[in-house]
Amino acid sequence: MKAKPIQSVALHTGLLFGAFVMVIPFIWMVSSSLKDISQIFIIPPKWIPDPFVWGNFKRSLQALPFDTAYFNSIYISAVVVVVQLFNCSFAAFAFAKIRFPLRNAWFVLFLSMLMVPEQVTIIPLYLIMEKIGWLDTHWSLIVPPALFNAFGVFLLRQFFLTIPNDLEEAAIVDGASLPVIYARIMLPLVKPALSALGIFTFLYMWNNFFIPVIFLSSPETFTVPLMLNMFKGLYITDWTLMMAGSTIALLPALIAYLFTQRYVIEGIAMTGIKG
């Protein structure tokens, strides 16, 4: 519904102001990271650094191994996404299309686990990880979400349910077994749901701070949020350095988002509608 011109102007003004508020912290972050430390304390604040100082970025990268952190974050997130998509779609397919005893009971169990926040089970989880020697390793980060994701199972099941049974029945008449039905028919039909879930999970793994900060203690294992937190602990008073570090941590993700934003936003919207 398009509003009348006057209303349109008013709406745009409001929206622009809001957009400004959304973006200002990022601009200020980049601006501060390009300044010399002496410039930080000038009042009124200068938005455009004069002169441009690129050294803060070099110093940040030398201070802490951000490249290792990036590598860790990327490969951990990617592995979890790939394995999880398979595991969730297997279970969702089973719940939606296969009849087996106690199916509904198990599904109800899955759903009820959605109500349990990770903050509640973290203590026993930590103790379990300690017992099996996974503390301070990436296994503790990768295996739990790769194996179990109630939300993903729920979401994909909704999609599988919308696929008419005739397709399945025709395939059975043709002699196809269940795994073949899964792979050849079902999976291709839920691609949009798979990519939405994949993006959702990737974002979650990439930004996760709570779990890694409790399970990991050696800097070589750190993911980007942890590295940045350690950075903050060491250099908090040097704001230009901190802003440079934050830029390094944020900018690649932001750029990746700008390239994929349509998929990200539509994926999130889809999970909202079905959820």
Binding site: S8, R99, L109, L178, V213, I214, I265, I268, G272
Partner: protein, 292 residues
């Protein structure tokens, strides 16, 4: 059609990975946390069974009371604000051109993650040289509050960050919900002479209610889980002013090594969230309108 036996096997096989994960990493810990909450244990020494003593301790522990109070205050500040602003933006976007660009910008903070943004906000809200206070001084000639270092302002400051972070998500979901409402309703109402506000109350609100319900539950539950920003920006301080529920659990468990007591706090948190969710579901019967 020979379904029966092999189907059952396939069913369980397909379920196996999730099943193992559920059992080991979700169900077992859940049972375990209840068991732990009734023990005294420091992780090394002997486990001692103490029954409900940890819970009795919690009910009289001033630190725990503060944690609950702070969490409630944080929730009260950030939840309604985030929902209302998200809804308003979604409605505005539904009526103008250029929706895509705005969507990209408003959703940006949501993808950037809490740690980096928290650090940027620490600098923004720096009492002496941060952007916020220097402009307050310039424009209004007043000395702005000490934000994160002032016990009265610390929770509102963290709420502000959380609202800023979460608006994009709320907006996207609300927008999807709004776009699912058929134009014909509005057109028919307009023909009948309904004014914009009437159309909003009698068409938009009821038809959007499932979406609103979803967002409300998610936002409330998430507000009780707040932790990252607190650990990065304030460490629970100044004093105990920003000590929230999850931080309290974390602190007791991994800094004090009191696994029994912190498990009791975790059980408490679980029961609170469960109660809120069940209450919401009950109340929703009265105001959530499902079509068809």
């Amino acid at each position: 059609m020979k379904k029966k036996h092999s189907d059952a096997i396939w069913g369980y096989l397909f379920l196996l990975p999730q099943f193992i994960g559920l059992l080991v990493f979700s169900l077992l810990p859940l049972v375990f946390v209840f068991v732990l909450s009734m023990m005294r244990w420091d992780g090394f020494g002997v486990k001692k069974w103490v029954g409900l003593e940890n819970f009795r301790y919690l009910l009289t522990d001033p630190e725990f009371h503060i944690a609950l109070k702070n969490t409630l205050w944080f929730s009260l500040l950030s939840v309604p604000t985030g929902i209302v602003i998200g809804l308003l933006i979604a409605i505005a976007l539904n009526h103008v051109k250029g929706k895509t660009v705005y969507r990209i910008i408003y959703f940006m903070p949501t993808v950037t993650g809490t740690v980096a943004v928290a650090i940027v906000f620490m600098w923004l809200f720096n009492p002496d040289f941060g952007l916020v206070n220097t402009y307050i001084k310039q424009i209004f000639g007043l000395q702005g509050p000490r934000w994160l270092t002032d016990p009265k302002f610390v929770i509102p400051s963290v709420s502000l960050l959380s609202v800023w972070l979460g608006i994009g998500f709320n907006m996207v979901i609300f927008l999807a919900g709004l776009q699912g409402i058929s134009r014909s309703y509005y057109e028919a109402a307009e023909i009948d002479g309904a004014r914009p506000l009437q159309r909003f109350w009698h068409i938009t609100v009821p038809l959007l209610s499932p979406t609103t319900f979803f967002i409300t539950i998610i936002t409330i539950i998430n507000s009780f889980k707040v932790f990252d920003q607190i650990l990065v920006m304030t460490g629970g301080g100044p004093g105990n002013a920003s000590r929230v529920l999850v931080f309290h659990i974390f602190d007791h468990a991994f800094q004090d090594f009191m696994f029994g007591r912190s498990s009791a706090a975790a059980v408490f948190m679980f029961l609170i969230i469960l109660t809120i969710t069940l209450l919401q579901m009950k109340i929703s019967r009265r105001w959530v309108h499902y079509e068809g």
